[in-house]
């Protein structure tokens, strides 16, 4: 079922959290809401599930305007950031609660609880109380509770934050598989861009209550609209150099680097610029050589990560297939891939 936010605004008293947000999540689509802490991700979710009423604007599920409907009438499954499990109920009672309040028979509830518990691997914990579970187990209980009554819309507020790496990978594909199978429209709030990129059809990046860009993961990665978006996606993150325009090229202020870029034709000389270079675009096999000194080296198993400081003090990050001939303190002469370089104006917009 499609979710549409139409000029949605939300403020708490005098604090404006969200202003005039438009968002369209297609039916059966899974969208990631990505953004720094406090940017309004949870607030948006709360409005979609009906806990907060929008200050203005409309919310539509399909073609149905649900703006003034209560949570009970919306059939939305939510995994809360704090899990919000009921401490006095056992795991089974927690998971079955949405069915209990629908007055289903105990037998039916037990059957469905067992099914969904097996799916999220907590079928051995059904008799425990939430206080007797680890954080990850609690999270899975919350997920099971959100899924059990087959909601039209699934909202996940950082559902995997507390899981260990292996379980997280497993749950990622599990949630994705489930979502695809059932065709639920889902919104996933996360801090983890890998999670966002691997699980979701599209990503919306938020900043201070606004959606800065909304695109598929690869579009977003390769074609970020602002420096903020470019900085937010990618791990290890992109590195930025500040310089000026000089005859259609990006130049560092000390003249140590000059990078001709097509995007800079017609930009007056002296304009302040920011150049973004992703780590995989600096190293061996580029076309513009850069000299610098390695200050940091880290091996990640298959790959190595280096920080290189240029003569003017700015730093570039490089990721390369594992090698053992470079150590911190070494001077190196590696090259940039100028075609992949991203250049931003002073306001952060991509040129």
């Amino acid at each position: 079922m499609r979710i549409l936010l139409d000029k949605f605004s939300k403020s708490f008293g005098a604090t404006k959290v969200i202003e005039d947000m438009d968002l369209n999540v297609g039916s059966g689509e899974m969208l990631a809401l990505l953004g720094p802490s406090g940017c309004g991700k949870s607030t948006t979710l709360f409005a979609i599930c009906g806990i907060h009423r929008p200050t203005s604007g409309r919310i539509l599920f399909g073609n149905r305007d649900v703006t003034s409907l209560s949570s009970q009438e919306r059939n939305v499954g939510v995994v809360f950031q704090s899990y919000a499990l009921y401490p006095h109920m056992t795991v089974a009672e927690n998971i079955g609660f949405p069915l209990t309040v629908r007055r289903m028979t105990a037998a039916e509830i037990n059957k469905r609880v067992a099914e969904i518990a097996a799916l999220v691997h907590i079928d051995n914990l059904l008799d425990r109380k939430p206080s007797q579970l680890s954080g990850g187990q609690q999270q899975r209980v919350a997920l099971a509770r959100a899924l059990i009554r087959r909601p039209d819309v699934l909202l996940l507020d950082e559902p995997l934050a507390n899981l260990d790496a292996k379980l997280r990978l497993e749950m990622r594909s599990e949630i994705r598989r489930l979502q695809k199978e059932t065709g639920i429209t889902a919104i996933l709030v996360t801090h983890d861009q890998v999670e966002a990129m691997s699980m979701c059809d599209r990503i919306a990046i938020m900043k201070a209550g606004e959606i800065v860009q909304i695109a598929t993961p690869s579009e977003m990665y390769n074609d970020p609209r602002t420096a903020f978006v470019a900085g937010f996606l990618g791990n290890p993150p992109i590195s930025f150099l500040t310089g000026r325009a000089k005859q259609g090229a990006f130049a560092l202020d000390d003249g140590g680097l000059k990078l001709p870029l097509a995007a800079l034709s017609g930009i007056p000389d002296g304009t302040a610029l920011t150049l973004g270079i992703r780590p995989e675009h600096f190293g061996i096999g580029g076309d513009v050589p850069v000299e610098g000194k390695v200050t940091f080296a880290e091996t990640q198993g298959r790959e190595n990560l280096y920080d290189v400081v240029l003569p003017d003090g700015s730093a570039l990050r490089s990721i390369q297939p594992a090698r053992s001939d470079v150590k911190p303190g070494d001077s190196v002469r590696w090259s940039l891939d100028s075609k992949a370089a991203l250049v931003f104006g002073e306001d952060g917009r991509r040129l």
Binding site: I51, S70, Q72, Y86, P87, H88, V101, R149
Partner: protein, 423 residues
Amino acid sequence: MIAPAAIMIFLFFLMPVGLTAIFAMTSMSTATGISGGVWQVTQGAVNRLEGDMPALAEGIAQPRFVVDEEGLAALEALKLKPGYVIELRAEHVGEVFPSRREAERVIKALKDRPSTREVKQISDLFNRSVLNTRFESREALVRSLEKLGFKLTPEERDKVATATYTGWVWTTDNFRMIGNSPDMAQIFLNTAFYVAVTLLLFNVSYALFLAVTTHYMPPTTASVFRAIWLLPRITPVVIYVLMWKWLTWDNGFLSLLMGQFGVPPKNYLLDNSYNAWFFVILINGFIGASMGMLVFSSAIKAIPETQFHASEVDGASRWQQIRYIILPQLRWPILFVTCYQTLSLLASFQEIHLSTRGGPGKATEVWSLAAFHTALNNYTGNLEYGLGAAMALVLVVVGLVLSLIYLRVFRYDTLISKPLIED
């Protein structure tokens, strides 16, 4: 850290309870005093002896004048005319007169003609009555009885001593009395009714109702409501009860109001026992509801808001929220309030004392009020400390037993179970 707590428990709980228990095992009252007593053949003692020893009872009840050597020796020491002694010894020794008048007739008839003053003086010397005479020791009482010619077996002596002792004694009669008296049974039933109804209707149910409804109100409205329900608690009880009296007096508000419909004025509070109970329970319930309301409100506030959000999203209606989310998490506060209020209702009597004084008749007399009346404040003026203490002790025991039952019913053990951490 145990020592201070132990001292506090000892000083403020065990010692009062212990003292109460000690008093409860005595027959102390205004009549016996709280120090020792004397042996005195009172009319009461005579009545007590009548059943077992009718002859003795009848005998000691009579005044006795005996012409004996002891009296004659005393008369000699008075140095009156020697003829008195000689004649009495010769003619009358060993004679017993059942009344002063008969004795004095004989003395007056002596040849030496004693004056009226002397007759009185002499007859006093032969007065051997025991009725209303105080004996400082048991032996003195027995000795003088034997002198009067009562031959007593050791058991009879014990009986007489017990019957005539005016001080307090160790006894379990108080508890026998509580167990057997139909009055006490009635008071017990009154108390059970009063505590159960006030507790259920007001201290728990109504308090829950207030807490839950104010939880769903906007904050300011909720505060106003809570403040209103706190008023009975913070008003001094004398003034608070006075307001109820003003409401129910025969020239009070209710009478005035009903007067508009032609109903003659009457005292609604004491009109009949139903009314009396109605108002007693309202008076106490309105005070008691506020505490439960505060405890339950803060317990509801302590439930994280996301649980309410989650249950709404899960599709729970308000009723279901109350039933599945709020009430189960109030188990401990409800246990606490039930326990606490049971004890305070059992022990508190000032509201009833100030409003109905246990009336009409003894309709609203409850246990603590009865204990107060028995031991500290009654119309006859004989305050029975021992019996009152025994009643108080019964109250303590009932309170403890009820608390234990509550802990069981609410399954206290599951409330404090520790989480088991394992993976």
